[in-house]
Structure formats: structure tokens, C-alpha cells
Symmetry: C2
Subunit: 219 residues, 2 copies
């Protein structure tokens, strides 16, 4: 059976996966870029964005695991847009098509969880956004049907990762803990008491200052 | 000037320094011993408790830094006892004198913060418990006067460590992050947004599975 994976999910030392005050200009709110600077410094990021150079050590080794073997992604609406409620821009010239330009870095079907379904959007490079109102298990069934033998990536944000963890649906979870204190925002770990017992957990500190935590579900 | 230090302060992955439901039998509540098993496995702990053996690697290197150079400790009442409110056992045969037996491992003056001052208790081996109703700064002034040129240890629990951090009084903070999810209890990091900017932070993962975080105040 294909696996359900989370990669490169960054949280602060106090457990926040986003800050407060999310806008189109500041998709992580007052956290700014601080949760993801480690990733921007890697060669994997450079290759994806067409920048030369980048680090090739442990941070890069983790970062580049994000893509291979993935046949579909499931993301929360909050990762696709900061809009909430009914879509107001459908069919307009300014219709929002995500943060990622005409050729998003997914190259697979992407299922966006929302209480407001809307027509799918086909992008260049193989990315197709589907908008579905579904439980975690239902969304996973849809994604598996689309992904064939390949794995499913759970893309975030923190609320939906937490929901998939609470539902026991995640096989591999890669968390990056960044040594900053955000103080406010959306926490990843709330309500997951005892979850550690269901996983083998490996921890490695990077010379860059971050910590990589890998949770592998026990058989 | 003497330094203000925190050592071996253990928290869960979700940031709790104690669990819920603290009693005399379970001083860390539903956390049990899980936050401190790493310490019990060290040679430093064995030497303190008269047990032979124990690990001599990185966990032990950190654990044994707890004692040397300390001239006084400040602790919250919750570390001394699970009693709250007015003391009810003063002068009785069962008067509570802490968890640590007749010869506690402090061997210095210990200032216990409480809204209910009471007479000091002299123990064997140089430990003297003083019970004072004081702000963090006032308590630190008292402890410094007692400690001479030596350093002050801030002993916990999480609430009082957080208060001393918020007041900007801590020079060196050693946090041990244990890969468990407690889900409930008392958090260390609440309300400390941006505190990381005032410290140099070093992180090392131990083969035992825990992470040592060392915060050194910037000059």
C-alpha cells in the first residue's frame, strides 16, 4: 500500500506552524520567512526555483525527499489561499490560482480541502487542483485513487496535518523545529497526547541550528 | 557578577514541563517519570543517589553541570510540595520537608517562592529552605546576597522559569526536549515571543533520543 507522508513541515520551538495575521503578502503572518529560511538555503530549493548553489548537507538531504514517489497531495484550503468563506473571484480576471505561478511545483493532482467546492483548475506541468469537501479519510481515498501505486503527501497547514494525525492516517512525518519563539499562531501538536507511542522517532540536530524529527509509524 | 542558570529542565515535544494531576505520589502528574528517565540513566544521577554505573556520554555531561558553582537555588512552591493555600501541617509530626529526605541534594540555601511565608527549615548537608513571598527580582536579590560570588540556580517548575525568563533574569538556560506528547499540563514557552533573539541557541541531539537546547544570553 502506498504511504502517506509529510515532509519539511516547519514549526517554532513553541510548536507553531504558522504565525498570526495571515495575508496574501504574509502567508505565514508574523512568522514571516523565519520558519522556512533553512529550506531556502538548500540546493533542493535552488533547483526547484532555478537558483544556483545551495547547501548539500543534512538539511538538503531531508528537503529533497519531498518530491520523489509522490502521486498526489492533499492540502488545507489555508495553504492554497488566505481567502475564507465562499469564493468571490471565480471566473474573474483576477481568479486566484495559488501562490506558485503557472507551473506549480506539485506536478500531480492536488486535493484542496474546503467547505466550498468549486471547479478544478488545470495548471501547467501536471498539477491539477481539485476542491473537495471531505473528511481526512475520504480525501485520502480520493487521493489514493488518483495516485495509483505512488505515495500521498499531506501538505499542511498545521490544522489539517493535526487532523490527519489524530485520525491515524499518517505513515511518515518529517518535522523541522526552528529555534524561534513565535508566541502565537496555529499549533501543530494540540490534542495529540500519546501519539508518540505509535511512532519510532528519530532526531537529528543540524549545524544550521534546526532539528529534524522523523516519525515512522510502527508496524 | 554571578550568573543565573537553569539546568536539566525537561519538557515534552509539545512543550509541557509537568503533566496534569500532580499529587504526592505523582509529582509530575500523568507525565510520570517520562520527562526525566534520560537523567536517571546518567552517571551523574547515580553518583547523587548512590547507585553504581550510569551513562557517561552527552546526557551525563549536561546533567553533571547542575551542581558546580551554585550558591543558592530559587524554586517555586510547586517544586517543594503539591500543597496549595495556607500551610496546614506546620509543627505537626507529619510536617512536609520536601521530597528529598533528610539530606537534600542542594547543599545551599534554597528560596521557595510562596504567598504563604513560614519559618525556615534547616536540613542536613547544608540545605536551608527559606519561604518568601517575593517577585522574581526580589527573590534573585535575596539569593545573590546568600550566594556570595557563586551562581544562582532557578529550579522550576515551568511557571516560575517562565516568569524569570519573561523578567529577563536568566543568563543560561538548558532545556531537555523529550520526544513524547503529553497533551496537557503546564507549558514552559507560553508568552515568550521573540525571547530567542536575546540568546545564542545551541542544539544537540543525543543518541538517547532527547535534544539538549542551550540558551546563552547575548552580551
Amino acid at each position: 500500500m502506498s504511504r502517506v507522508r509529510v515532509h519539511n513541515f516547519s514549526i517554532s520551538l513553541d510548536g507553531f506552524g504558522t504565525g498570526e495575521g495571515l495575508t496574501i503578502e504574509a502567508p505565514f503572518g508574523h512568522a514571516g520567512h523565519r520558519l522556512h529560511e533553512w529550506m531556502f538555503a538548500t540546493r533542493a530549493w535552488g533547483e526547484m526555483t532555478g537558483q544556483p548553489g545551495g547547501s548539500t548537507g543534512v538539511d538538503n538531504a531531508f528537503a529533497q525527499r519531498n518530491g520523489p514517489g509522490i502521486g498526489a497531495e492533499i492540502m488545507g484550503r489555508g495553504k492554497f489561499t488566505t481567502q475564507t468563506g465562499p469564493w468571490t473571484d471565480l471566473g474573474t480576471e483576477d481568479e486566484w490560482r495559488g501562490w506558485w505561478g503557472d507551473n506549480p511545483p506539485f506536478h500531480t493532482p492536488v486535493f484542496v480541502l474546503t467547505h466550498y467546492p468549486r471547479p478544478s483548475i488545470e495548471m501547467e506541468g501536471g498539477t491539477m487542483f481539485h476542491f473537495i469537501d471531505a473528511s481526512p479519510q475520504e480525501a485520502l481515498d480520493r487521493a489514493r485513487a488518483a495516485a495509483g501505486d505512488l505515495d500521498i503527501r499531506i501538505g499542511g497547514g498545521p490544522t489539517m496535518v493535526r487532523e490527519f494525525l489524530a485520525a491515524g492516517l499518517i505513515d511518515m512525518l518529517h518535522i523541522v523545529q526552528v529555534p524561534i519563539l513565535l508566541g502565537r499562531g496555529e499549533r501543530l501538536w494540540d490534542g495529540l497526547e500519546g501519539m508518540d507511542e505509535r511512532y519510532a522517532i528519530e532526531t537529528v540536530a543540524s549545524p544550521s541550528g534546526i532539528v529534524h524529527l522523523t516519525f515512522t509509524r510502527r508496524p
